[in-house]
């Protein structure tokens, strides 16, 4: 185990995978300038700066992935993906299926998002749900440096295009990272804390908010299980359902806006597959239907808070006791 930041853990994964497989290369606006270590180790053919043009960065990755390379591209901040949607969604996501399986697209697109830097809504927009909705793509959004490394390694080895989101609020937070392989398969959630009374389901930064809430809940006699989704697509439905079947209650938490977010998908899944086990309404605590504000206090208020999670969880427990079955 070594202590390193989330950002450095991603960098280490890149380093290891580029050393392992000469087809892996990385490019983006400032990649060669900012990732000096990679540049030094792997040279300017495999670590490249690009012109400022997200569309062609993503398109070049897709074209290269389909013909033998395994590109990782840094698209910087999630809202800039708006300039690369055609290449990611219409090309990388669809052309395998549309060609009857003639091509595959082993590529990773990296982007930061989330509150913490007061950069405003054109740098901070949690739009991971878009890529969950679009076919042919996988989506990863880790909450710890160890997962960041393990999932980045798995993403690079995957034969499909993977969107890899880094939560700004976590990027420079240190954590334990195991040495060596420690690859984490895509599609496996982690149970961060076991509990029996309510399941808190989240990903990225708000996993930590959930863990803090669970601590408080424990003090108040409520046993909360905390699930970190880690991969948003494929979603680890089994882990979610098993937990809710045990606790009978779910609170879903994320910073992304509410409507048609990942929380909606998780709630819909539970309400269809674990309905009989549900003892209370499914609650979502999410960012509002608003652009992310720059102003620090507003930005902080945008993301769900531990106090709100505690209140919601306790409310569910109370309502269960009071409510009478209607049939």
């Amino acid at each position: 185990m070594t202590q390193m930041t989330f950002h450095d853990a991603v960098d280490q994964a890149l380093h290891e995978e580029m050393a392992r497989d000469s087809r892996v290369l990385m490019f983006g606006e400032g990649t060669a300038t900012k990732r000096k270590g990679l540049l030094k180790s792997f040279g300017s053919a495999r670590v490249r700066n690009t012109p400022l043009a997200e569309g062609i960065i993503a398109g070049t990755a897709a074209g290269a992935a389909a013909t033998g390379l395994r590109p990782v591209v840094d698209l910087l901040f999630a809202p800039f993906l708006c300039f690369a949607m055609d290449e990611l969604v219409n090309s990388a996501g669809k052309l395998r299926y549309m060609s009857g399986g003639q091509f595959s697209f082993p590529m990773v697109a990296l982007a930061m998002t989330g509150g913490g830097w007061s950069v405003g809504a054109q740098h901070n927009h949690n739009l991971e749900a878009w890529f969950v909705h679009a076919p042919g793509l996988k989506v990863v959004m880790p909450s710890t440096p160890a997962d960041a490394k393990g999932l980045m390694k798995a993403a690079i080895r995957d034969e499909n295009p993977v969107l890899f989101f880094v939560d700004i609020g976590l990027a420079f937070t240190p954590g334990e990272v195991p040495e060596g392989e420690a690859t984490i398969p895509l599609g496996q959630a982690a149970v961060r804390r076991e509990g029996t009374g309510v399941t808190l389901i989240s990903y990225a930064k708000t996993v930590h908010t959930c863990l803090a809430a669970a601590e408080t809940l424990a003090e108040q006699g409520v046993s909360a299980e905390v699930i970190d989704l880690r991969t948003l697509k494929p979603l680890d439905e089994a882990t979610i359902l098993a937990s809710v079947r045990k606790t009978g209650r779910a609170v879903i938490v994320h910073e992304a806006s509410r409507l048609c977010g990942v929380g909606a998908e998780v709630a819909a899944l539970i309400s269809e597959q674990a309905f009989e086990a549900l003892r209370a309404p499914i609650v979502r605590l999410t960012g509002p239907d608003a652009p992310a504000p720059a102003s620090y206090p507003l930005e902080q208020a945008f993301a769900p808070q531990a106090a709100g999670i505690v209140a919601a969880a306790k409310d569910l427990v109370t309502r269960t006791l009071e409510a009478a079955p209607i049939w």
């Binding site: 043009a53 390379l69 290449e87 219409n90 090309s91 009857g100 003639q102 697209f105 042919g136």
Partner: protein, 320 residues
């Protein structure tokens, strides 16, 4: 079949163009006969397709778009499997999942066909990057329209290909139309070739309705790309003889423009030249036409007899 690289005589060029024309005319006939998927035909643009593709080598790769039949057939694609794809049959090159608009044939090096206008431009540099980094002599040919040149991705694609020294031969088929809009409404100049200059990319405009000129220009351009490992932009000045897609509609087209271009039909021009030069007789031409039609009839028979994919297969193969 007309395997790429073996076309070189004027008669070969003619035969290749006739095959494309017969294919597109069969599509038109299918439409006349009843409901059939909408198709963008390349009637009138056969010389651009055959002239360029005949100048390529087996190891080269091609990206194309919605108006791809000429490029595919010139490269040696089986018209039966193409028609089957258009008709959504399981024997199609893409198992019927593509339909007419995005037929890729990887085994012939026709990769990542996209109907997003500009899609081919966005993908070509990456294909060329693979060539550059994984070795091999091949170059990448990217066919696109004058309309696609108006998309922002044109700018990004050419700029990246230039600063990264990628071996892409960009081929713009300037057929004067961008779906229902004339290019005069969308660009101030007539030509796309000059748009290459800002990126330090050499370019050339060629009479796209003269297959021999196109072939010569393409051989020159391809040789330059091969040698310099840098992009080049070749513009083929041509015309879309039919409506944007079948079923056919040209109500918005200036009849005088259409008439002037019909007089420059690429097939008629080559035939006239062959006859004038005494390289063949009218009867021999008739035989070539008949042979092209026969091959396409056979292909149509194959496609029509092919089964549809099984609906239970609907969502398979999305992920690798």
């Amino acid at each position: 079949m007309t395997p790429s690289g073996t076309v070189s005589t004027r008669l070969d060029l003619l035969a290749a163009m006739l095959r494309i024309r017969a294919y597109e005319e069969k599509i038109v006939a299918f439409h006349a006969a009843g409901p059939f998927p909408n198709v963008c035909t390349s009637v009138g643009q056969e010389a651009a397709a055959v002239g360029v593709v005949s100048a390529l080598r087996a190891e080269d790769q091609i990206l194309t778009n919605h108006r791809s039949a000429g490029h595919l057939l010139a490269r040696g694609a089986d018209p039966g499997r193409m028609l089957a794809e258009v008709m959504g049959r399981s024997t199609g090159y893409c198992q019927g999942r593509s339909g007419t608009l995005h037929i890729s044939v990887k085994e012939l090096g026709v990769v990542l066909t996209s109907t997003i206008v500009g899609g081919e431009l966005s993908l070509a540099p990456g294909v060329a990057l693979s060539r550059a980094m994984l070795g091999g002599e091949g170059i990448v040919v990217c066919f696109f329209g004058d309309g696609a040149a108006c998309e922002g991705i044109f700018h990004e694609s050419l700029n990246l290909a230039s600063v990264w020294n990628l071996p892409v031969l960009y081929v713009c088929e300037n057929n004067q139309w961008q779906a229902f809009v004339h290019r005069k409404e969308t660009m101030v100049g007539d030509h796309v070739a000059p748009w290459a200059a800002p990126y330090g990319i050499d370019s050339l405009t060629v009479d796209g309705n003269d297959v021999e000129s196109v072939r010569k220009a393409a051989l020159h351009a391809a040789a330059q790309v091969r040698e310099t490992r840098r992009p080049f932009l070749l513009e083929a000045w041509t015309y879309r003889q039919r409506g944007h897609m079948e079923p056919h509609d040209q109500s918005y087209v200036d009849p005088a423009e259409l008439e002037a271009w019909m007089a420059k039909d690429p097939i008629a021009r080559l035939e006239a030249r062959l006859l004038a030069d005494g390289e063949c007789t009218t009867a021999e031409l008739e035989t070539l036409h008949a042979e092209a039609r026969r091959a396409i009839e056979e292909a149509a028979g194959f496609a029509s007899a092919s089964p549809y994919p099984d609906p239970s297969d609907l969502a398979t193969g999305v992920y690798a």
